[in-house]
């Protein structure tokens, strides 16, 4: 399966990238497992995520073709 992964704000700067395409074995994994696969460590504390532009938890499933985003706590307003 293939998913597109987006990073925002401090996370984008620290990782040095804004977007990547990830090729993964199997046909589903969780938001947390995707992070582990990409970064070889568990998700950091206070990580926020979205799947297909909707708020997601670490347990939210990710499937082929999904758009996944990781970001720090939001600070708008």
């Amino acid at each position: 399966m293939t998913v597109s992964v987006h990073y925002f704000a401090r996370l984008r700067e620290e990782l040095g990238r804004q977007e990547e395409q990830a090729e993964l074995p199997g046909d589903s994994l969780t938001v947390a497992e995707l992070w582990q696969h990409l970064h070889q460590q568990p998700p950091p504390a206070r990580l926020m995520a979205a799947v297909n532009q909707e708020q997601a938890g670490l347990d939210t499933p990710v499937r082929d073709g999904d758009e996944v985003a990781y970001f720090p706590p939001v600070t708008g307003g």
Partner: protein, 147 residues
């Protein structure tokens, strides 16, 4: 029910924006309007902030704002909501956020306006990076509490 959500890459006049959005609300029913406008201050945590960069997640931002407004509509008898948010490079004094709600009743308008603002601050994908007087930058780690 009139709902408008705007993302502004440049400075905008919040009062003109409210005035325009209000045209879509039936004049003889609107009764009460409650508005909040947040602007960039030149201080935060006791250091002098000279500028701000507002990053957002295009697409998700608009969806989240619409979801937050729909949640308020389900809870209060509203006639209209208008939400506008600035993105990009911001200067002190510029408007950052505008939330306006219309209802036949003042308490509904006021409570819905507060609710939308608090939800926006905690859920909508915007991130602030402050530029300090010494030329350094820092990401704002969290919003100040609303209550």
């Amino acid at each position: 029910m009139s709902v408008t959500v705007e993302i502004h890459p440049d400075d905008f006049d919040p009062w003109a924006s409210v005035q325009q959005a209000e045209q879509a609300i039936p004049a003889q029913a609107r009764g009460a309007a409650s508005v909040f406008v947040g602007r960039m201050r030149d201080f935060n945590e006791d250091e002098t902030v000279t500028g701000l960069f507002l990053e957002h997640y295009p697409g998700m931002t608009e969806r989240e704002l619409e979801r937050i407004v729909a949640e308020a509509e389900a809870r209060w008898p509203l006639l209209g909501c208008h939400v506008a948010h600035r993105v990009g490079e911001v200067r002190p004094g510029d408007a950052l956020v505008l939330v306006a709600t219309w209802s036949a009743h003042r308490v509904a308008a006021r409570d819905a306006c507060s609710h939308i603002l608090e939800r926006l601050k905690h859920e909508a994908p915007f991130w602030k990076r402050e530029r300090l007087a010494d030329g350094s930058d820092r990401w704002v780690e969290q919003n100040t509490p609303g209550t």
